[in-house]
Amino acid sequence: MRLLRLWPDESHVDFMRFRRFTFPLSAFLSVATVVLFLTVGLNFGIDFKGGTLVELQAKSKTADVGAVRHTANGFGFGETEVQELGGEGTVLVRFPLQPGEQGQTAVMQKAHAAFDADYVFRRTETVGPRVSGELVQSGTIGVVLSVLAVLFYLWFRFERELALGAIVGTLHDIVLTLGVFVISRIEFNMTSIAAILTIVGYSLNETVVVFDRTRELMRRYKTIPTVELLNLSINSTMSRTVMTATSAFLSLLALVLFGGEAIKGFAIVMLAGVVICTYSAIFVSTPVLIYLGLMLSGVKAQGRPAGGRVPQAAE
């Protein structure tokens, strides 16, 4: 039977050439994300902001979001955020952090008193000020730690340039993933940190596969120019990359479409992450090696003129 081939066996695409476009594009997207992050900001959930979250489902299956918002704001606990979740009359209400550890209890009591009649409380979460502060801390530490740990590991396993290239790619992926959060307004809480760490892992997975091949080719062909070396690495691993990315994409797509509302945000981010990681492994981490002056047996590699400009080694 004729089998499915998503990528031709012998491909000679000049991937490195695209860096003229992809570098500026990635740089722009990264800067844009940072700007948006500082201005619009992430949609922090109560894990990090503290406060109370209530998921209500209308017993009548249709919710009057406006009325809910009006009532909730009337409690006197500050401006609440109310949003509709999926169909079937489910509404998410978020109350800001009340001072003191006991402040959140009052919120819960008032919420029950006001909404018990017409709504079912699907879930409630309250996070006090101390815990939310700690979660912010541990979340940040986690991400920083994982990047450092990976850098360490790569430094051991690979040459210096490869390790640096991989880290650039990973940082790029983290930034762009945060961008997905900012733009989509998906709630950012502890599971989002899990998504980011998973994407760090996946990003490295992709990069390591290419770099393993790069290292092998470097040993085999001692005097190959860098651009050609990198193009060859990517072309030879491309069929595997396409396969794995498609497979991951398909399963995550199933999760987005059928996994239910509770996990949807996480799944969407992961889906975007797979795309971003695959893109960056090919168009960011690898071309960066050219600028890092990848060494081959002590001879700094020169790029082919057609492959693009390469900083001449000062030798």
Binding site: R5, T126, V208, S247, S251, G260
Partner: protein, 536 residues
């Protein structure tokens, strides 16, 4: 590589079958499992049958989760009060030494002034005995002392809690609190709560099925410290002015000295007063308590005893005769429910300090079952898509990869069952994700093999080379993912931890199945089919 001895095949299959069978209990409820175990004939060795199952997290089961924190200020306060009582006792035993102006409470300790140098010299060594060396599993004997006793000018003696002492007491308070909480919840009849220490001063209480944790919070919010003290004749001297339960707003002078403590109760039961039919709590003391109580009542016939619960005077009966039998009653305008609750609290014991709720999550059963449903569905769809895709791309070898995939998921469930790990909604997402990425190892091998064939190798050597060269890459790529997953495991809690567990186990089983099972299947197939060309 293509030579797979019969022993190897049998062992691999056996290990896989055992691994998969470990997952079976997780598909049945606890009742069904218990029923099955009971139905086994007595000669059947029950240790063969896997019994442990995956635990459903609260986000899938529905229930409440409370994170309680030991109120350090409250703990310090009760420690200083106890310290003051100890100091008073030492002074009394040393021959009635009275400090000028009484014993004052200062931040984290007490202070007293004894002008007479001889009295001071007599009392100081006894006071020093109050401090104890801190020893626990971590620091052994070298943990320092619990108290700092310093002499200040003008005959002032200051006794304060050391930092190490406070930390040690906090740790003990947490352990004790966990015990008290467990007893309080068990007496209340809720099912299988989980109570664990978190960090230095926090306790995580998870109660599946509990929809309204308010009652539980109220129950845990009460320290339930019961003291038997004497009503003071006048509001001056060594007295506390405490609120009275009966007369709202009135303050009653109560002597500070504790005659008998609720800690010495062996039992407390709700009952009804013989004459008035009012609900009350009847209690029994242990030997020590009975002695203290007997002595207190003998010395104070005709006076009123104050029964103080959580610093509120619940009742103040007159002592008509000495009570040496060690039992008595507490009446105080209780309702039946209040009498019941108080009995439970007294039986369970007093909390060493106030607990505050710093985090609370309640998941309704509707959301829980919806999540499980959606999770199952998504997993099946993801599995079907990936299987179809692999089959379409690699044909027969795709079939092998799919078998490896199914075994891989089964092994994850098996390992989770044995570990009695918790499955959460992100954990289900982790399974879906691992379905998508598990094929990576096989894909690496297959693509490498194809490449080797294109380069001119024979089938056999291509298969060999493919496996060998891909192996290093498989290890590298999975290690990087494992690092991220491990960090997540140590960092996260609850649902996130569940995800990390699934992820780590997924990485582990991927490497194992890719290296052993896939190789075995291909080797068997090759030896049977002897193909001339690669089927993909």
């Amino acid at each position: 590589m293509l030579r797979f001895s019969r022993t190897k095949i049998v062992t691999t299959l056996a290990v896989i079958l055992i691994g998969l069978s470990l997952a079976v209990p997780s598909f049945f409820s606890a009742e069904q499992r218990a029923g099955f175990m009971a139905s086994l004939p007595s000669w059947f060795p029950s240790w063969i049958v896997p019994q442990r199952a995956i635990v459903l997290g609260l986000d899938l089961q529905g229930g409440s989760q409370l994170l309680l924190e030991v109120d350090q200020n409250d703990l310090a306060k009760s420690l200083t009060t106890a310290l003051r009582d100890d100091v008073r006792r030492v002074l009394r035993e040393a021959g009635g030494v009275t400090p000028e102006g009484g014993i004052q409470i200062i931040p984290r300790g007490v202070q007293l002034r004894i002008a007479n140098e001889a009295a001071r010299a007599k009392v100081l060594p006894k006071l020093r005995e109050l401090s104890q060396p801190i020893s626990n599993a971590l620091v052994g004997q070298g943990g320092g002392q619990t108290l700092n006793i310093t002499e200040k000018p003008e005959g002032v003696i200051q006794i304060t809690l050391t930092d190490a002492g406070l930390t040690d007491r906090t740790r003990r308070a947490v352990t004790q609190a966990i015990e008290v909480i467990r007893r309080r919840i068990d007496f209340g009849g809720t099912k299988e709560p989980s109570i664990q220490q978190q960090g230095a001063d926090r306790i995580l209480v998870q109660v599946p099925g509990l929809q309204d944790p308010q009652k539980l919070e109220d129950q845990l919010g009460k320290t339930a410290k019961l003291e038997f003290r004497m009503l003071a004749d006048s509001p001056s001297g060594d007295v506390d002015l405490l609120p009275s339960k009966d007369e709202k707003g009135a303050r009653v002078p109560v002597e500070r000295r504790v005659m008998a403590s609720g800690a010495d109760l062996t039992d407390a039961q709700p009952a009804f007063d013989h004459q008035t039919q009012e609900p009350m709590v009847s209690f029994k003391f242990n030997l020590k308590g009975a002695q203290s109580f007997g002595q207190a009542t003998s010395e104070n016939v005709g006076r009123r005893m104050a029964i103080v619960l959580d610093n509120e005077v619940v009742s103040a009966p007159r002592i008509n005769t000495p009570i040496t039998g060690g039992s008595g009653q507490i009446t105080g305008n209780f309702t039946v429910a209040q009498a019941n609750e108080l009995s439970i609290l007294l039986r369970a014991g007093a909390l060493p300090a106030k607990l505050t709720v710093v985090e609370r999550r309640v998941v309704g059963p509707g959301l829980g079952s919806d999540s499980i449903q959606a999770g199952k569905y998504a997993t099946l769809v993801a599995g079907a898509l990936v299987i179809a895709f692999m089959f379409a791309t690699y044909g027969v070898f795709g079939f092998f990869a799919n078998i490896a995939l199914i075994v891989h998921v089964g092994l994850i469930l098996g390992l989770m069952s044995v570990l009695e790990a918790t499955m959460t909604l992100p954990g289900i997402a982790g399974i879906v994700l691992t379905i998508g990425t598990a094929v990576d190892s096989n894909v690496l091998i297959y693509e490498r093999v194809r490449e080797e064939v294109r380069a001119g190798r024979s089938i056999v050597s291509a298969l060999q080379a493919g496996f060998d060269k891909a192996f290093a890459t498989i290890i590298d790529s999975n290690s990087t993912m494992a690092i991220a997953a491990l960090i997540l495991f140590f960092l996260g809690s609850g649902p996130v931890k569940g995800f990390a567990v699934v992820f780590i186990l997924g990485i582990l089983t991927t490497v194992i199945t890719a290296v052993t099972l896939t190789r075995m299947m291909i080797a068997l197939w090759y030896n049977m089919a002897r193909p001339k060309t690669l089927p993909f």
